[in-house]
């Protein structure tokens, strides 16, 4: 009941504002609408509720679209205004007079719209700032390059101080330090240029996160409700997250948590689990990466389409993931594309020497029938290394060519920005 009264408060005030804007007398409007002037006066001063039928009649008399006087329309605006007040208010500014929000909205709709737009822009900019900040902290290009620069600066500073401050340095050491200085200054120069070029490239890009990055951030935050996630700023990201949730729920129904937990306790081999449960391996792999039951707490999952584009990235701790759009061509994920329906197991090693066991599996589907296109997707489960395979063959992977320090790589497609590469 209170909601209806509040809505009518809005409607009454707006009726009055519209009438005054048309310079029409209260009695004329009341007569045209089939009510008494006294009753319209009470409505305009928010002391009487207004039926939907009367709102329709008044909208005709006042030559205004009915929805501008309807309660839902106002309620949305009022909610937006209150949200703006809550966002922009604070200890420094003081609390706004929220009780007067309905009057403010009705009397100054233009200012109210500006305030709401300002609050929303502020919110979007804050989200963008957080996103950029996260990117700066997690971007492996930046982290690796800055580490290179810092190492060179440290060596130069210590060596230069020795040359400047130490007395009676033996000639052999002098020669060695001069050579080191030359080497480190060249290294610093090359790496700094690469860093500047990399930062320049940001200007040519949309600095906001891609929808995929937004979805990844949302998943990283534990996949909170879509309407309450600050990570999902774009409609595209919300749509992707919604589709992801729907598929997760569908897969959860197909392979319930309890069943998977029990099966994972009996075997740490995803293929054995799939065979035991009678489910396809790709479903089991996705569910393991999502649920992370005991024995699979550290797993990650990469999924790519047949063009090689990564469409889902659940990082495993220590596994080098570059920015979206980049990848290492040696990841076994891509080998799986060439051998659909066949599980491929590999040991891989990162440039830092971390080893992982990967299980890659590709599927082919024709969702539009035999005449439709063949849709191939590959996925790679990233697991801790298998000690039993420590002496076996290892694929030496990287994050992406640009930040990969490997000097020789048969799959390199562009030079590394690391001077040591």
């Amino acid at each position: 009941m209170s909601g209806r009264t509040q809505n009518n408060v809005l409607t009454g005030t707006r009726i009055r504002e519209r009438r005054l804007a048309l310079s029409r007398r209260q009695a004329d409007v009341a007569r045209a609408a089939g009510i008494s002037p006294a009753y319209l006066n009470l409505i305009e001063h928010n002391r009487r509720p207004v039926s939907d039928d009367l709102v329709m009649r008044l909208s005709e008399v006042l030559e205004v679209p009915a929805d501008e006087l309807l309660e839902g329309h106002e309620e949305v605006r009022l909610a937006a205004l209150r949200e703006a007040a809550a966002r922009l208010g604070g200890a420094d500014i003081g609390a706004p007079e929220t009780a007067l929000a309905p009057d403010f909205l009705a009397r100054f709709p233009g200012w109210a719209a500006i305030l709401v737009a300002h609050a929303r822009r502020s919110e979007a900019l804050e989200a963008q700032l957080v996103s950029l900040s996260d990117r700066m902290r997690q971007d492996p290009y930046l982290l690796t390059t800055l580490h290179e620069i810092l190492s060179a600066v440290t060596a130069i500073r210590s060596t230069a101080s020795i040359l400047a401050d130490e007395a009676a340095i033996p000639a052999e050491w002098l020669s060695r330090f001069h050579a080191n200085l030359d080497q480190d200054s060249q290294r610093l120069s090359v790496t700094a240029q690469a860093l500047v070029a990399y930062l320049d490239s940001f200007e040519a890009e949309d600095t906001t996160a891609t929808p995929q990055e937004e979805v990844e951030a949302w998943m990283g935050a534990g996949a909170p409700p879509l309407d309450r996630s600050p990570d999902l700023a774009s409609d595209a990201a919300r749509a992707m997250a919604g589709a992801h949730l729907a598929r997760m729920e569908q897969e959860r129904r197909a392979l319930p948590d309890a069943t998977l937990v029990e099966a994972a306790a009996a075997s740490h081999d995803p293929l054995m689990i799939a065979a035991r449960l009678g489910h396809p391996p790709d479903l089991v792999m996705r569910r393991l990466a999502a649920l992370k039951p005991a024995g699979f707490e550290q797993v990650g999952l990469l999924v790519c389409d047949s063009a090689g584009a990564l469409i889902l990235r659940r990082p495993a701790p220590g596994f080098p993931l570059p920015r979206p759009g980049d990848a290492c061509a040696l990841w076994p994920l891509y080998q799986a594309l060439a051998a659909p329906q066949t599980a491929l197991s590999h040991s891989v090693e990162t440039p830092e020497g971390r080893r992982f066991l990967t299980l890659s599996y590709a599927t082919r589907q024709q969702p539009e029938g035999v005449q439709g296109p063949v849709i191939t997707q590959a996925q790679m489960l990233i697991m801790p290394p298998d000690p039993a395979r420590a002496a076996g063959p290892v694929i030496r992977i990287g994050p992406a060519c640009r930040i990969c320090p490997r000097k020789t790589c048969p799959a390199r497609r562009e030079p590394s920005i690391l001077a040591t590469a």
């Binding site: 810092l150 130069i156 020497g353």
Partner: protein, 118 residues
């Protein structure tokens, strides 16, 4: 007895540090890789370990964690000075006895080592 074992993969940093610390009279040796770091400490039994955080193959944080978890408690408590590019807030340095952020002044390193080996 060895005073200092430095685990650092940047040879020019290691060379500069070795020059100034050996000039101060400390007996010092180097290990240039994260792999085998704990074994190198066990073998050398130094009075102080200078440990870089960012090492190839095995990070300084992992070496420190393994060292502190060693059942030989006297060995596990070997003093560690951690060199880090990320300052005091870097993850994995909480078990270190001291942290020195890169780039550092030689005099700061000397003073810290003197204090830790006093």
């Amino acid at each position: 007895m060895l005073d200092i074992l430095m685990i650092e993969d940047e040879p020019n940093i290691a060379e500069a540090v070795r020059f100034i610390l050996t000039r101060d009279g400390w007996a010092m040796t180097l290990h240039g890789d994260g792999e085998g770091g704990v074994e190198a400490i066990r073998l050398a039994r130094p009075r102080l370990v200078i440990l870089d955080l960012m090492l190839p193959n095995r990070s300084g944080a992992e070496i420190l964690r393994d060292l502190r978890a060693d059942p030989d408690t006297a060995f596990a408590m070997t003093p560690v000075l951690m060199l880090t590019a990320r300052g005091d807030a870097a993850a994995g340095t909480s078990q270190a006895d001291a942290v020195l952020a890169k780039p550092f002044a030689n005099e700061d390193l000397r003073a810290l080592v003197r204090r830790m080996l006093a």
